[in-house]
Symmetry: C3
Subunit: 444 residues, 3 copies
């Protein structure tokens, strides 16, 4: 470990990493750049460096600015523990708890309140570089970014349940290539990971939970992957959001509540949402909007049920049950081989007395909806003060239920020339049979 | 690496890691706890630590007890090599072998024989903590746990082929959150990895083979994932077992023989077994039992053929060919788009002369079986003394075969209101057409 | 890090890693072997070692020969940046670029020109060992292998666009077990990763691009996985190639242009290509040839469109539009639930005026083609000098298009007894209805 391109924040000679790890890392980056001043000659380049954060608490009072390629920042522990559960434990019980805070290689984000008009200001790590080439191969691995506290949102909700604080974990503002975010933990940030203009990005095997929004791919981009993550946003935000991306692969993720959406695509084309496990307490779990076209949504498990944990009872994302668990505005998408479980209390359906919609085709043409299995149950949910117990109990409950009538597929007048095969019985598919091809699932 | 939260077992001042790495690690954990005695104040927590095992042989004579969150134990090498093949090489040839044992960062489990009534006793690593919060973010990464030897099981089988020795690699006894097991190797353990009451667990990219059972999720749990592993249990045990779990994602695993089952769910709901490659020498490859419901089993490749390696000829899991390659006791499951290859010698079919069953629905209602492709061949297998060669030869053999008659889908009287589409020809689907909906695959 | 089994190339006493890291690593391997001379006794083995390359430029002038098990070579950065884009920037603009070369822990392959008849000669890392057992558990992780330059190929193409240079990143010549290649970067090599006779190999989460061919599994093998990689070969080579493999799992990869094929199987059986995102500029994206049988090709997203970047305009893989996007020579394969987008300029179709073929069954029997969705558009492509912009623009373009007539499935006379369900309208499926079963997709 004696290489001059290996840095440990605890041994760097500038700053105190416990007091302000941002200042330490910025000083290290300045050192890397100074040592790279030799021009690239004879195939020799500017290889970058690795910055190591051993397990420990590192307060960040200065934003880190990354403007060099080939920088890897790594720790030894994603450090997630539920702050949400702990903040909802009565404070007089805290002394009985083994620990109060996340851990591992933990960055405590303690920036001044950000200007909400510019979320980059509130980012612990800001990646930004003008000019060519695009900044490449920045890697974040196996450490924890903790936003510490949420702040009041003006509602009756306790501040720590608001999912807002103006803080972002990592904000990439410039076009970039071949970035990696692996094995990280993100906790109690309003935005965990926001990346603009990504090419060949990999977001893999992270733990991103109890954040307002988790993954946001903004601007435009291509050929990226979001794979094998554990993800769960707050009720106001997105678990996975992408706009104007092509060739994005979203697979093998386990996305749990309570995001306003599980996967939300806007103007995304020729991309895949396959093979994920998706769970939400609200409609609008997967949204393809703004002419999102030629995407494949296949072999996902969708579960929509009810909030079982008392602190969040009554909260929702504002969508009613006609919205669709999967909502499609776009053309030539494929929706194949998905399982949908809708397990709700019929008394809670909005609009009252409505028949909930599972798949809704709103706009566009030529969508192919085939061999999806829809299970719908009416269940009387029993909320609990114990978050884990409540969720497991609800997940495992298959008794004391009765069938619930749903619309399996609803095709709006704005959408036409779709093909709907074996995705609902004849009465469960509501579509103009003149402009759409329908083959109903045979019924016993 | 000077941080006080980074420990190397080879430089710790207590114990000798070659003689008893368990004693060394327990001493390190005691040190971590002592240094954490300051209470959590001002957002500051108990960040945990990382314990590093460089490549080397580390005998473990004392069980490690982990009762702190945010502990990462990591090595530099999963170290798998086949002990099974070597133990079946005549001993007088051993001097000609390049190496005899697994390697990497290797823990040699040398505990006293465990009480079989309490498998936790035989665990190299025991994770257990009462109270709140649940123990969180313990990570195991990139080292090898080697049980060294199997022991006689009372049968005629050589001791080293018995898959029993009372040893467990990692045993998690208490409810836990956000654990990770990545890039590990597990070898010659009766139980590789047993985890009770898991929440948001990730078991990813491990090599778990030549163990009695590989992955067992016991008790109950939710929102976990078992992804991208290479797994192969012994003939008595489970490759992947889960009970009372909801929202479990089992995907992208390559599960090879000879586990008694490849994936076995008991009372598991709203979970996914998708996109795996599964290979077994026996029926009962995927079992959904005890009211396992609303699960998705999709786009998996199932191969069932014969044991080709002479040391294990005649061994099986006791199930006959009517059991089903996939057996379902539960309701509202989805079985979509799987490929099944059944490549067996018709002379070996049990009961003699029976027509083997591929998918069997035993109990429950509302299962959806759609667009599965079933290939069945009668083949004369030729076992070999060379394990790798025998397996590859069998895998690649597609000549000298003839079609084999099978029942594609059998619906027992205990199961009703199922929908079976395009998963077998009319004669290959045996189901009460009055209580089940069947659309047979068209035949040329 | 004081263990004698942990080596850092920058601190080893033999050689200069900047001048010839190959000589340094070979010296380290010799040291490991010398220290392992004690025989394996009392369960004690030859655990191997880890060799660390901190971020930096390491020229390799001597081939590394690996002939010990349990060796892990690791860096701290995959270091990809596009050399292809930079070499196509006018040289007088280079001084304005932030950096010219890939980075991270970067090995600069500077071997004498290889004998093209023996690609092993041109390998930076050669793994080869005779005898038993097979060499096991060699791991490559998180460093960059850069071939630096391509060489003239005799065509009019600039040398740096030729994708040939006789260099290979890693070449495994001997039968092997439980190898891992994780988080690596491969750039500007004629062959990135060539592995013979693999058992239980894992190639996971790598970045392999701008190489002639990326992943080649040669000889024969079994039970391996290629998962979660970003891959893109040159127009002459393979992105993923395998021959005589059984039980191979190819999943969750994002394979981008411009490989002559995306996935090419020759004599591969009982394997899976599922859940990948595949993008190519030519036909022949997925090829199952030479009796590749009982494979599952499911829930992949196929996009074939046009080269949008001016330096490669006019280049193709020599296949015409009748070849098929997916071409099958083999039996009993399953092609289920895939999305195909064919977005081409009808004026470019070859043979002129032909109707392009999407899925072509050439030879074999018993293939099952079910529930694939085929989208075909005629588009006027607008190439650009800006590689990233051109690709994103093309990917996102769904306006100014019109439907294009295609043959969804073409069954050659050499293929029979296939089943084709819901994968094209009646006129889009060209097959002998006497010897194949066809159910056309209903049309609106």
């Amino acid at each position: 470990m004696s290489s001059s391109n290996y840095y440990d924040v605890t041994t760097w000679h500038v700053g105190n990493p416990s007091e302000d790890v941002g200042k330490v890392i910025n000083s290290i980056i300045a050192d890397i750049k100074e040592r790279q001043n030799a021009s690239d000659v004879n195939d020799g380049g500017k290889p970058g460096a690795v910055i190591y954060l051993p397990p420990g608490d590192y307060r960040l009072r200065t934003q880190v600015l990354i403007d060099i390629s080939f920088l890897r920042i790594q720790g030894s522990g994603h450090g997630f523990t539920s702050s949400s559960i702990r903040f909802n434990v009565p404070e007089d019980e805290w002394p009985d708890l083994h620990e109060l805070w996340p851990g591992g290689s933990r960055v405590l984000v303690d920036l001044p309140v950000a200007d909400s008009a510019n979320p980059a200001n509130g980012a612990a790590f800001l990646v930004e570089r003008a000019g060519s080439p695009r900044i490449s191969s920045v890697e974040f691995a196996n450490f924890c970014i903790d936003g510490l506290h949420f702040t009041p949102d003006g509602s009756d909700l306790p501040a720590e349940n608001s999912y807002v604080n103006g803080k972002t974990g990592i904000h990439v503002a410039s076009a970039n290539d071949s970035f990696r975010v692996n094995e990280m933990g993100f906790i109690y940030l309003e935005h965990a990971l926001t990346i603009h203009n990504a090419d060949a990005l990999s977001i893999h095997n992270n733990f991103i939970a109890e954040c307002g929004s988790c993954i946001e791919l903004r601007g435009w981009g291509q050929a990226s992957k979001i794979t094998d993550n554990l993800i769960g946003a707050g009720f106001k935000g997105h678990s996975i959001y992408a706009e104007n991306h092509g060739g994005l692969l979203v697979t093998a993720n386990n996305v749990f509540p309570r995001g306003a959406s599980s996967v939300h695509f806007s103007g995304v084309t020729r991309s895949s949402v396959t093979n994920n496990r998706l769970h939400s307490f609200y409609p609008g779990m997967v949204v393809l909007e703004d002419n999102s076209s030629e995407n494949l949504v296949a072999t996902n498990h969708f579960l929509r049920d009810h909030e079982p944990w008392t602190p969040f009872l009554g909260i929702d994302n504002g969508l009613d049950d006609l919205h669709g668990i999967l909502s499609v505005s776009g053309s030539n998408n494929s929706v194949i081989g998905n399982h949908f479980s809708q397990i709700i209390d019929s008394a809670s359906i909005r609009p009252e007395g409505a028949t909930p919609v599972i798949i809704r085709l709103r706009e566009g043409t030529g969508n192919f909806v085939s061999n999806n299995h829809i299970v719908a149950m009416n269940v009387h949910s029993s909320p609990s003060d114990d978050c884990f117990e409540a969720q497991v109990d609800a997940l495992l409950a298959t008794d004391d239920v009765e069938d619930l009538a749903v619309t399996a597929v609803l095709v709006d007048p704005g959408s036409a020339r779709n093909t709907i095969l074996d995705s609902g019985s004849d009465t469960q598919v509501i579509a103009d049979r003149g402009t759409n091809a329908v083959r109903a699932t045979p019924t016993p």
